[in-house]
């Protein structure tokens, strides 16, 4: 009885009921299936694009990293760390200062190291006070040698006194010897790789030449060895 009523009701109003059912079903499909799926499709497509870009970037990075010879890179890092070490390395600085003074024709009366560290740009530095004596004509060479030495140094004060008769100078020189702590981070997996420019390569070659100058036997021989007769 009830079913017959329903059928009769539908037959009478099917012109309206059918379109309503179609509209509701379509709306249901749109709201719960088509719209969310399309939205996810678009978002995922974007995510795929990002992943592909990242993958391409990492592939390039791997290729770039593989192109470096690890031994050669370590050698270059060695040159750079010799010029700008991670710690104060007083012994190295002392040896180098003695060597540079001797090479420039100066004799060292005293060397003292400042205990406090100061900042020079992004780097740290410590002070070295030198009391030296040498020819007037060689002082410029000494300055140039100090400022282009294997270890980074900056002259911070100069005190020169000379007598009227002699060609010798008594110099009190203060220099800032630079060092810099190792960076905290060496870049993550997806951080861009720094590139070594032509200028950087030239600088490395210069550092290598400086290193060779220091380690060459002639340079080592020029180190002051002290008095031949200590009782003189």
């Amino acid at each position: 009885m009830k079913k017959e009523n329903l059928i009769k009701f539908y037959s009478n109003h099917r012109l309206y009921i059918f379109p309503v059912i179609v509209a509701l079903s379509s709306l249901f499909l749109i709201i719960f299936v088509i719209y969310p799926q399309t939205l996810k499709l678009i978002n995922n497509q974007r995510a795929i694009g990002d992943l592909m870009n990242k993958s391409r970037f990492l592939e390039t990075k791997v290729a770039a990293l593989e192109s470096y010879d690890e031994k050669d890179l370590s050698r270059k890092v060695g040159f750079a760390l010799a010029t700008l070490p991670a710690d104060k390395d007083f012994v190295n600085a002392l040896g180098l200062l003695q060597q540079l003074a001797a090479r420039s024709g100066f004799s060292i009366n005293s060397i003292s190291f400042g205990s406090t560290a100061s900042k020079l740009g992004d780097s740290d530095s410590f002070k070295v006070n030198l009391e030296i004596r040498g020819a007037k004509s060689s002082f410029r060479t000494l300055i140039n040698n100090l400022e282009s030495s294997r270890r980074l140094m900056r002259i911070s004060s100069i005190d020169i006194s000379s007598s009227q008769t002699s060609q010798a100078l008594d110099v009190a020189l203060a220099a800032e010897v630079l060092y810099s702590q190792l960076p905290q981070s060496f870049g993550g997996v997806d951080s861009p790789l720094p590139e070594l420019s032509q200028k950087d390569e030239q600088l490395i070659a210069k550092l290598a030449r400086l290193e060779e100058t220091v380690s060459s036997p002639s340079a080592t021989q020029s180190l002051p060895r002290g008095k031949s007769n200590p009782f003189e």
């Binding site: 020169i160 006194s161 790789l193 070594l196």
Partner: protein
Amino acid sequence: MAKISINLLPPEIINKELKKTKFYKIQFVGIAIILTMIFLASLTVALRILQSRNITEVQAKLTQTEQRVSDLKSTQASLFLLKNRLTVIDKYLEVSSQQSSTYKLIEKLIPPSVVVNTITINKSDEAVLLAMVPDAATLDNLVSGFTVKENNEGNNIRVSLESLNRGKDGFYRISFIIKRL
């Protein structure tokens, strides 16, 4: 002669037939809409499944590449360290400090006949010179060497005279401060 057509069907039957035709049309359109919606829904779901598979593949590839980068971590660290050091070294190596450039300038500008007793260049790049000058003309040359731009390589130099006296030997003893501005 024009034909005469007469519809003898009762209007109830005509109305019923018209309603039926209208319903069939609506039914056709409705079914077409439903089928289109089902097709679109299936299409999006299928595409999503394909896309998920694609994402998994890309992610696997990415993980593999990330692993390769991690394996080369030491090379990357060396490169970062090298670049970091080179940036600082480039800034200072063979670049004269203010004090040494001031000394070089003084050395260049002092006439050969002038005897310099002391040169003190302090941290703030202020130079104090104590010198002996043989005559007034040289003294004039000495001061103008520092102050005239054509002579001093275009530097702006302030010269402050601290003392000037003439000794029995005829030499002028001069003490002055030089500051590059």
